[in-house]
Subunit: 548 residues, 2 copies
Amino acid sequence: VSEPGKSRRRKFWGWGWQDEGADAAQLSALEAGVKALLEIGDLKPLAAPEPEQIVLRAPRVTAPATLATKLSIDHYERLAHCYGKSYRDVVRALRRDFANPPDLVAFPESAADIAAIFDFCADANLAVIPYGGGSSVCGGVEPEIGESYAGSVSLDLGRMQRVLEIDPISRAARIQAGTFGPALEEQLRPHGLSLRHFPQSFEFSTLGGWIATRSGGHFATLYTHIDELVEALTVVTPRGVIETRRLPGDGAGPSAERLFIGSEGALGVIVEAWMRVFGRPTYRASASARYASFADGARALRAIAQSGLHPSNCRLLDPMEAMLNGAGGGDHAVLLIGFESDDHPLDAWLGRALELCRDHGGEVPETSIRSHADQQGARDGAAGAWRSAFLRAPYLRDALVARGIFVETFETACTWNRFAELHGAVTLAATRAARDSGAGKCVVTCRVTHAYADGAAPYFTVICRARDGDELTQWTQIKSAVTLAMLEAGGTVTHHHAVGRDLRPYYERQRPDGFALALSAAKAALDPAGILNPGVLLAPRARVSTPC
Amino acid sequence: VSEPGKSRRRKFWGWGWQDEGADAAQLSALEAGVKALLEIGDLKPLAAPEPEQIVLRAPRVTAPATLATKLSIDHYERLAHCYGKSYRDVVRALRRDFANPPDLVAFPESAADIAAIFDFCADANLAVIPYGGGSSVCGGVEPEIGESYAGSVSLDLGRMQRVLEIDPISRAARIQAGTFGPALEEQLRPHGLSLRHFPQSFEFSTLGGWIATRSGGHFATLYTHIDELVEALTVVTPRGVIETRRLPGDGAGPSAERLFIGSEGALGVIVEAWMRVFGRPTYRASASARYASFADGARALRAIAQSGLHPSNCRLLDPMEAMLNGAGGGDHAVLLIGFESDDHPLDAWLGRALELCRDHGGEVPETSIRSHADQQGARDGAAGAWRSAFLRAPYLRDALVARGIFVETFETACTWNRFAELHGAVTLAATRAARDSGAGKCVVTCRVTHAYADGAAPYFTVICRARDGDELTQWTQIKSAVTLAMLEAGGTVTHHHAVGRDLRPYYERQRPDGFALALSAAKAALDPAGILNPGVLLAPRARVSTPC
């Protein structure tokens, strides 16, 4: 989370930098807004926890001398590696519940370090939890590993943050997996290149985490997941290092990369990757369109997704989502469209997209249409307002949670033929579950974050009053109701947030049994001692195994 | 190959329909052409074999009564299921070498039939060889299974050729795996849809084969492999049926589909798939550009591949390749560019592509520029000539093989930074190996079939005189030299022809050991008796196993 010597620390209990968050005026506006939205009275904020308020269980294991500089028992580091950044995580942190910390936090500097840590952990029967940037919202980095381990080690690649090599001819870069978004872009920028993968967690998540969780990024079409941007991977497993060949395309057997993309640290630890990068865009063209209803906007979105125009931005906000993000007045849905290129002007592209917008009943304000030939482009207007709100949202989420508000997001994807049904079913399930939990008024908003020719990825935000002191039970009720509704309507349990521990029971309903067999067998082959992130994707082993 | 009752039969010994091939005039031109090209004298064609000339080893196993209508011992069927369509296959067939036929040929009609066949084969210790359309050029469908099986069954899905369901809203179709290209397109056409996957084998290959081998199709960029078009799969394994969920995008664990895409029948048999389909194009725009050299053309190709324009056609032919395919005079390389859309005119797209062509020294004949708004489009001109030659090529290949000419293709992919080196190394390796084999003059041509922002897929054709009666040794020498040169220069052993049995030793050098462990473990989990296509991707089991 913060290496010794780094001046700026991240919060150990919630989103972002310790010294950053909503200011007094923003908090006041936020409070007023949520009180009006949910029709509730005064809010009593919980104070943020301080490290010295928390007594952690003593480490149950001692680092060997050979790894002394790589394994830490620092109080702050152990605190900061207890949780990811989900609603549940923030609630537990605010309640000062840090009952299950990792025993050690590892800061390897190389693949060899990781191999040595694996050996130590296999010998000592310790689980290894790859931490990435710690922005997991699905229990992916929490040492909740069952009863069969002697302890746990959180593995933090924070000392592996370099872009190691750039191949400008092939537009690719070899990058260490511990590199955070901003550091990655900073190192590519002098070469005129960019990975252009901007998940909401961008500032606080790493390349390795993106790959391990099939992160969804900036591109609303075509390169929706990090998957498509991976050219080659280096993965350390307990059975050795796997280094795949740099290839632009391949037909030799099943894709080795795709087995590790989305493996959530259960099959190995990604240490570096050759990534496909892009020229930094010099042309941008964007606009927004208003629709009387979300369903109308969805029809336009489908037409654009099936047009072959491949906009980089193509996001549909329902009326409430648009209003909350400063992109609309609450009486209409908003479709944001944007194209970008480092090669050519985009007028023909945007022109046709706007024809499609209008053909499907959209009103395109002339003032929303922008076309630039520079590095700034569509940073203002509705798209700019939305982007800014997007990156600030997690800070505000934490402020709401501290004020006793339940704020959770649910994201999925489904084919177009089931889209309307899924949207309705999820909205209903969330509203009902919130009501059943005694939350009173519940607001469910939806935006579509990624669009495909054959379907789309809707992203729901559910806001209601939290059940004071019983937030986790309430969360379980709502999470379960919504996720089951998604599955029932043909969706996936996650389009780009990963499975982790929270969604595993639901993932098991979605995943074909035969694929579970294959995946378990692959894990047993690569991780025979079962030390890697037990409990994500697959159930943790049931019994105590003897050290081998 | 041909079900009882079907009037038109495919050749059992070579490419295509029994009643189709080069006519006398074409053969005469072909002979004159190859004699001039290789500077050789008279050619003595081997006669095509007739079924009654071949005595096959008697079936070593008897079909159980319950499967009597699904398992055939028909002489013609067993003959036709001995080989794929590689150079080696045709040579052996012309030499009347059918020493190792499948004992039975299975024609299942459902997933349940396949499960019953698996049970029978596991009990009787028989290998199951999924046949697809039989167009394998890598030994993927040959019952060369080692010594540990009591026999083999070739599995032909020729009775499973239907488009079962169409979802026009999501632009997807559920299609049986045994469906051949033409039948597939014929069933989609009335709905205004097309899969637009046109490998050279299109007429004689199946959807299941395409998916199992990561086939490369029509699209030169973006949707280069069938992989991207697969929405969901149904796979029968000895441990049960795996049916993945229809999703446009997903982030729940590693992709289940991607484990089976490219699995070459070693993990299961694909029985149906939901495929992403396209609206039939109404707009087309195309042109060709001439370059003084292949290297010049490659620079233009790279610029286009990195432009974000995503042409559907974008193929570079070296001067000899262009001449042999009627697309050039032999003194210049030719870059074919084509865009297509069912949504919008493509002038802006083609316009920018041609700027790039010219910026990189290309000469674009005005007569080559075509823009259409109809269903026909760019069927004439250089692109049309090339396309026609492309589909006829396998028939001519067989005629050359019968005349004692070695004709083999080698395809790979590599990143742009190694492209020139690989092109040179492969050309040199092929030329040297042919010379060392005593073949005299050898012609090596190259075209680039698929292009990516980070690299390209070159496709080499090697033509020289075959070593009479010792063709297979010569083939091994040349194949080995070329494939090792590809690997050495950073390429893959196959971009879209699959690994099969022929390339397995080379694939093993390319595949990381750890991935081999995972793949073997997955196979053992899904196919515990090891009956599925032993010898492709993974070595066949070494010892006789007792029936279980």
